[in-house]
C-alpha cells in the first residue's frame, strides 16, 4: 500500500493525521458550509451585515418552507425528475443493445461504429446546438420535457455504449459460445445470458446518467424556457430573480436543487464510482 499506512508510523504522525483530516475537510467544503449557514439565517442578518457570525435566529423551517410553498421550485423539481428518469431508462436500454452488438459480434466496421459513438460523446455541445434546436422546434417539441428527453437519450447513448461495450467485452466469451452450441437464438442469448450479467453495469450507468442529466444546464436553457418544462438547474435562475439579494432563500433553493443527485450518490456510491472510472480503472 502507498503511502505507508499511518498505523506503521510514529504516534505523533498518527495524531497529526487524525487531526488534519477533519481540518482539511472543513477547508475543502468551506464554500458549501457557508451556503448551508446562509440558508438557516433570517433576512435581518443580511441587512445588518451579519453574514458570518452566529445566526440571530434559526430559520431552517421558515426558509425551506418558503422555497417549497412560495415558489415554482416544486414544479422545477418535478420537471427534473420527469426528464431524468425517462432519459436514464432510454439511454441504458439503447446502450445495452448497442453494447451487446459491438461487444459480442465481429463484423466489418465494428470498431469504426464504436469510435464514432465515443467521438460523438466528446464533441462540444455548441456544434450541435443550432441544428438540434431547429429539429426540436420543427418537431413541435420546443419547451417540452419530451424534446429534452429525446436529445438526452441520443447524446448519452454515446457514453453508455462506450461503457457497456467495454463491460461486455470483459465477460467470459465461452458462455456465449456454449449457448450457441446449444442452438440458443441470438436474441435469447442477449436476453437470458448477457443481460443478467450486465446488472452491475446497468446500475452504475443509471446512477451516473441520473446525475449527469439532473445537473444539465446548457440544454435546459437551449430547449426549454418556462416553468412548464424547465428542470431545476434552469429554474433556479428564475427562482433567484424572484428573490433577488435574499441570500437566505437563494441558498436554501440551491441546496434543495442539489439534494437529489447527492442522495443518489450516497445511496449508490459503489456503483457510482465504478461508472465514473469508465470501468477502465479497477
Amino acid at each position: 500500500m502507498f503511502p505507508t499506512p499511518i498505523q506503521k508510523q510514529s504516534r505523533t504522525a498518527q495524531l497529526t493525521y487524525q487531526s488534519l483530516l477533519p481540518l482539511a475537510l472543513i477547508m475543502w467544503l468551506l464554500p458549501l458550509l457557508a451556503v448551508m449557514l446562509f440558508s438557516i439565517r433570517p433576512l435581518a442578518d443580511f441587512t445588518n451585515g451579519n453574514y458570518w457570525g452566529v445566526p440571530s435566529s434559526f430559520e431552517f423551517f421558515n426558509n425551506y418552507g418558503r422555497v417549497f410553498f412560495e415558489s415554482d421550485m416544486p414544479r422545477y423539481l418535478w420537471n427534473s425528475l420527469l426528464i431524468t428518469v425517462p432519459t436514464v431508462i432510454g439511454a441504458v436500454a439503447l446502450s445495452c443493445m448497442t453494447g451487446f452488438a459491438l461487444g459480442i459480434y465481429r463484423f466489418r466496421g465494428n470498431l469504426l461504429i464504436f469510435f464514432m459513438f465515443i467521438a460523438g460523446n466528446f464533441v462540444p455541445f455548441q456544434i450541435l446546438m443550432v441544428p438540434v434546436r431547429d429539429l426540436t422546434v420543427s418537431a413541435g417539441l420546443y419547451d417540452t420535457k419530451l424534446g429534452l428527453v429525446l436529445f438526452h437519450i441520443a447524446f448519452q447513448t454515446g457514453f453508455c455504449t462506450l461503457f457497456m461495450r467495454n463491460f461486455i467485452r470483459a465477460l467470459p466469451y465461452e458462455l456465449i459460445e456454449a449457448a450457441r452450441v446449444e442452438g440458443v437464438a441470438e436474441w435469447r442469448i442477449f436476453w437470458f445470458v448477457v443481460l443478467p450479467l450486465m446488472r452491475p453495469a446497468i446500475a452504475a450507468l443509471s446512477v451516473l446518467i441520473f446525475t449527469f442529466i439532473w445537473n444539465d444546464y446548457f440544454w435546459a436553457v437551449v430547449l426549454t424556457q418556462g416553468p412548464d418544462a424547465q428542470p431545476v438547474t434552469a429554474g433556479i435562475t428564475s427562482f433567484n430573480s424572484q428573490f433577488v439579494a435574499q441570500y437566505h432563500l437563494m441558498s436554501a433553493g440551491s441546496i434543495v436543487a442539489a439534494i437529489p443527485p447527492v442522495a443518489m450518490f450516497f445511496l449508490m456510491q459503489r456503483h457510482f464510482i465504478a461508472g465514473l472510472t469508465l470501468g477502465a480503472v479497477k
Binding site: P31, F122, G158, T233, I273
Partner: protein, 302 residues
C-alpha cells in the same frame, strides 16, 4: 417463400443480429449528434437569424472572426482554462494520497471530499459567487486578513474574474481526479511496492518510479475528462458572470451561445462558425484519445 427467407435469416444471423441491435441507438445518435455536426458546418456559411431566409455568405463569417476582438479574448480564455484546469490532476492525486489510509471513518471522508463533483455546476457557480461577494464574501474577508484587496470583488474585476471562475471549476474537477486516483491506488500491486521498499525507494522516488507508472490508466482518464471539461465550460460562466465584466470571462462555448441565442442577436451562422472553431480544437484532442484507445484495443485483441 417464407421458408426461404427463414433460412436466409439463419445463414446471415451473425450479420443481421448486430445490425438490428445497433439500429435504434445508431438512428438516435445519427439524428441528434452526427448529422447536426455537418449541419452546423453548413449553417456557418450562411447569415441566418433562425427564422427567416438564410443568405449564403461563403466564408465571410470566418473572415469576421479573424478581426473580432471578443472572439480573440474568448480564445485566450479557453487557453487559460485548458492550462489551469490541468492542475486538477496533481491536486486530485495529492488528495488521493492523503486519503489513502485505513483509519476509522476514512470512507466517509472520501465521499465527502468527492461531494463537490455530484453537485450541479449551477449550484457550484452560485456557491462560489457568494463566496466571492465583495466585502461580505468569505474570500474577501480571508484575503483581507492577508492584506490583499481585489478591487470590485473577484468576479467584478476583469483581471481576476476568469481565474475566479476557473478556481470554482477546479473544485469539482479535483474531486473527480481524486476519485480516479483513489480507485487506481487500490489496484496498485503491493508486491511491487514491497520490492521498491527493499530497493530503498521512498517517498517521491517511490511515487515517481513505482506508483505513477501503475496509475497510468487513471491518469489517462483524468486527462480526458479534464480537457473535455475545460473546453466545455459554460455553466459556471453563465451563472457567475454571464460573460462579464466587459466580456472578459467569455470562452468560445459561451460566446457562441451569446451570438446565436441571446438578446445580443440571433446570428446562427456566426455562432456556428464559432462552434466549428471550437469543434476543431476539441477534435485535435479527441483524435489523440481515440488513437490511444485504438492502440490499447489492438494490443488487447484476442
Amino acid at each position: 417463400m417464407a421458408d426461404m427467407s427463414h433460412t436466409w435469416m439463419r445463414r446471415n444471423r451473425m450479420t443481421i443480429t448486430p445490425l438490428l441491435f445497433l439500429l435504434p441507438g445508431m438512428l438516435f445518435f445519427a439524428a441528434y449528434v452526427i448529422i447536426p455536426i455537418f449541419q452546423s458546418f453548413n449553417i456557418s456559411l450562411y447569415e441566418w437569424d433562425g427564422l427567416g431566409e438564410a443568405t449564403f455568405v461563403g466564408l465571410r463569417n470566418y473572415e469576421e472572426l479573424a478581426t473580432d476582438r471578443a472572439f480573440e479574448i474568448s480564445l485566450w480564455n479557453n487557453v487559460k482554462w485548458l492550462l489551469l484546469y490541468l492542475l486538477a490532476i496533481p491536486a486530485g492525486l495529492f488528495i488521493a494520497l492523503f486519503l489513502n489510509q485505513t483509519v476509522t471513518g476514512v470512507r466517509l471522508y472520501k465521499s465527502l471530499f468527492f461531494f463537490p463533483f455530484v453537485i450541479s455546476q449551477v449550484v457550484v457557480g452560485l456557491v462560489f459567487s457568494w463566496f466571492y461577494l465583495p466585502n461580505d464574501g468569505l474570500f474577501d474577508i480571508i484575503s483581507g486578513w492577508l492584506g490583499i484587496d481585489v478591487r470590485g470583488g473577484v468576479l467584478g474585476n476583469p483581471n481576476t474574474a476568469t481565474y475566479g471562475i476557473i478556481a470554482a471549476g477546479l473544485w469539482p474537477q479535483t474531486a473527480y481526479c481524486m476519485i480516479l486516483y483513489l480507485t487506481g491506488l487500490n489496484a496498485v500491486d503491493p508486491e511491487q511496492v514491497e520490492a521498491g521498499r527493499l530497493d530503498g525507494a521512498k517517498g517521491w522516488r517511490m511515487l515517481w518510479h513505482v506508483i505513477l507508472p501503475q496509475l497510468r490508466p487513471a491518469t489517462f482518464i483524468a486527462f480526458v475528462v479534464t480537457i473535455i471539461g475545460a473546453l466545455r465550460s459554460f455553466d459556471l460562466i453563465s451563472i457567475m458572470t454571464n460573460g462579464g465584466p466587459f466580456g472578459s470571462t467569455r470562452v468560445l462555448s459561451f460566446y457562441m451561445f451569446e451570438k446565436a441565442l441571446s438578446e445580443y442577436g440571433f446570428r446562427m451562422g456566426y455562432g456556428s462558425a464559432i462552434a466549428v472553431v471550437l469543434f476543431f480544437i476539441m477534435l485535435f484532442f479527441i483524435a489523440y484519445f481515440l488513437w490511444s484507445m485504438y492502440r490499447d484495443e489492438r494490443a488487447a485483441r484476442r
